[in-house]
Amino acid sequence: MSYELRDHTADVAVEATGPTLESVFAAAGDGLAAAMCEEIPEAGGERFEFEVRAEGREALLFDYLDDLIYERDVRSVLPVDNEVEIREPERGDEDGESGEWALEASARGLPLADISAREIKAVTYSEMALEETESGWRAYVVFDV
């Protein structure tokens, strides 16, 4: 799994790839962290967990990234080293989009006081992509700076 920061006139975009849906979510989360901080220390901070539920795959990615930003503000930490487990809707839903998607996330919360970081305001749907590729999954997300 990996991510790249992509050009955008005013904001910043993250393109993430990974062999599985879970890995591409986590990579997008790590890309969000990288967009806020150039030099992320390898140690420090405690891991925390949270859950997200949404009506579809793309909405789940949106809400997951929104929650990372929310957790950053209320815990005063930068969430890094993201890990994600996804529970797809029960089989039998025709397109997989009609049931509820759920996600369990964990991140290492680096205290903001210990690093030099800048603010990303929010996740956007603008130009958002979440698609299966020959080698796995690809996500593209524009964040408001």
């Binding site: 005013a10 929310y70 903001l112 030099s116 800048r118 929010a122 603008s126």
Partner: protein, 492 residues
């Protein structure tokens, strides 16, 4: 790439703009566009506007139901998310819709300018002392806390009463309210429409700059243009002023996010008609349209208090540095204007009909002319002040609402210089330390929490603010009153 015809059209890839008159370009209705789109720009600015997705986003914004006349892109417009930055849309408040994405995440991001009686001569030689004192005392960056450490009750009181809360608590004087758009309170606010999540994010950011393009800048007035208006505003050459640019912080960002998601789920049918999911809109009269409007108004109040607390703290810093009280240094608020906002306003639309509209201004400033009933009493005879911040290496401007703004732009003008270069590219081209050194050669002192912010906000990444303001002035939507130049700048 763009081909520039010197004639009556401008070719921007697949889009052809027709020249209506000097600085007014129109993209005629086609496909699902409900009204034409207009760009207000010189050819120089149009070359930049046509270079990213601004025009596509502007066209997309005309798909929103209930748009009236035309959607307009200001001279400083650039690509945003969904709705372009610098975009203005007047959307019918009965038959149309309201779109959180067309306001933006940073609800009531805006600018205020505080005057002083100090002159540049008084400040010379003490710039670094003042810079350090401001930086040490005004919360900025990520996790820097706020001027006020509040609880949920505090947040709710601010959401409910805006600057009136600040007045009650001793953070403002009555004159501050009289010199703020809407006197610093949106009475349509309803704190119960703001989520717990948003309030949680807001409570430790009350009175903080944040980061990105937000800043506090001490400036000197270098030029005045309309002497009678400059007099009415109390501006003269050599005078020191303070400009504060920030918004509603995490609270406003969360409100936009929450309603975007709720609207996406509740009004999927409308969303399916729109070319960009970020344009999601609630139909006028729906519960979500009402709720979002009330929550947005609450966030507007929060942003006004945010800027007020920063201004209050700035007064205290000046008191310490200059050993005088702020009243005797004439540290009075000139004006506070929002540039990310949707407001119910009455405008004349097609066929001369008067309609109540949700005027969406995203990266655009209200610019009501002299005599308009919503201009505060202090400025009723000259028009409302408009504050246009430039980059930290260039001048900023004070304009006044122009006579033609009601006809051309739903009473709006530009909001800044507008970016031309991405943040990722800026960090490749610039190094924060070098930018700081170069600015210091020009006697501009900059201090930031993050060196990367300085690189991302380097003067070279912005459009020419002089050209933006020249076009605004030539169109008569915002007339040039005064120009200022940076002295000290702090940012996140």
């Amino acid at each position: 790439m763009t081909d520039n015809d010197a004639g009556d059209t401008y070719e921007a890839g697949e889009v052809t703009l027709q020249k209506v008159r000097d600085y007014v370009w129109e993209i005629p209705r086609e496909g699902d566009m409900r009204v034409p789109a207009r760009v207000l720009a010189s050819e120089e600015l149009l070359d930049q506007i046509a270079d990213d997705k601004t025009l596509e986003q502007l066209q997309n914004s005309t798909h929103l139901p209930g748009v009236r006349k035309y959607n307009v892109c200001m001279p400083d417009g650039h690509q945003g998310y969904g709705f372009p930055v610098g975009g203005v849309a007047g959307i019918d408040a009965e038959e149309g819709c309201i779109s959180p994405g067309a306001v933006g995440y940073d609800i009531n991001c805006g600018v205020r300018m505080m005057k002083t009686d100090l002159t540049y001569e008084d400040l010379k030689g003490r710039e670094e002392e003042l810079l350090d004192a401001l930086f040490a005392n005004i919360p900025s960056g990520l996790g820097g806390g706020g001027v006020v450490e509040g609880d949920i009750d505090t947040v709710e009181a601010i959401l409910d009463r805006g600057m009136e809360w600040a007045l009650e608590e001793g953070w403002a004087v009555e004159e501050d309210l009289a010199h703020c758009e809407d006197e610093g309170v949106r009475h349509d606010s309803d704190p119960s429409k703001v989520s717990q999540k948003a309030k949680d994010r807001g409570k430790n950011q009350i009175g903080s700059l944040g980061s990105g393009n937000h800043f506090l800048e001490v400036q000197r007035v270098t030029d005045t243009y309309l002497d009678d208006v400059a007099d009415a505003y109390g501006l003269e050459e050599g005078q020191i002023v303070v400009l504060i640019h920030c918004g509603s912080r995490g609270l406003g960002h969360q409100v936009c996010t929450d309603y975007l998601r709720d609207i996406e789920k509740a009004h999927a049918g409308l969303l399916d008609q729109l070319p960009d999911k970020e344009l999601a809109a609630a139909p006028a009269g729906s519960q979500l349209a009402e709720d979002y409007y009330d929550a947005m108004c609450a966030s507007i109040n929060f942003a006004w208090v945010n800027r007020q607390l920063i201004m209050h703290r700035t007064r205290q810093v000046f008191e310490k540095v200059f050993g005088n009280d702020w009243e005797s240094m004439g540290m009075d608020l000139l004006y506070d204007v929002a540039h990310n906002i949707a407001k119910k306003e009455t405008h004349t639309v097609e066929g001369g009909e008067e309609r109540e509209l949700y005027v969406h201004r995203k990266g655009a400033t209200r610019a009501f002319p002299a005599g308009h009933e919503e201009v505060p009493g202090a400025y009723l005879n000259v028009g409302q002040p408009i504050i246009i911040p430039g980059s930290m290496g260039a001048g900023s401007y004070v304009l006044r609402g122009g006579e033609d703004s009601m006809d051309l732009t739903f009473g709006s003008t530009a909001h800044g210089a507008g970016r031309t270069m991405s943040r990722t590219q800026a960090k490749k081209d610039y190094w924060g330390g070098d930018v700081q050194d170069e600015l210091e050669q020009e006697h501009i002192y900059v201090k930031a929490q993050s060196g990367a912010t300085v690189a991302e906000e380097a003067p070279g990444v912005y459009k020419d603010v002089d050209e933006v303001v020249r076009v605004s002035d030539a169109l008569g939507i915002g007339d040039k009153v005064a120009r200022t130049f940076p002295v000290c700048n702090i940012k996140g």
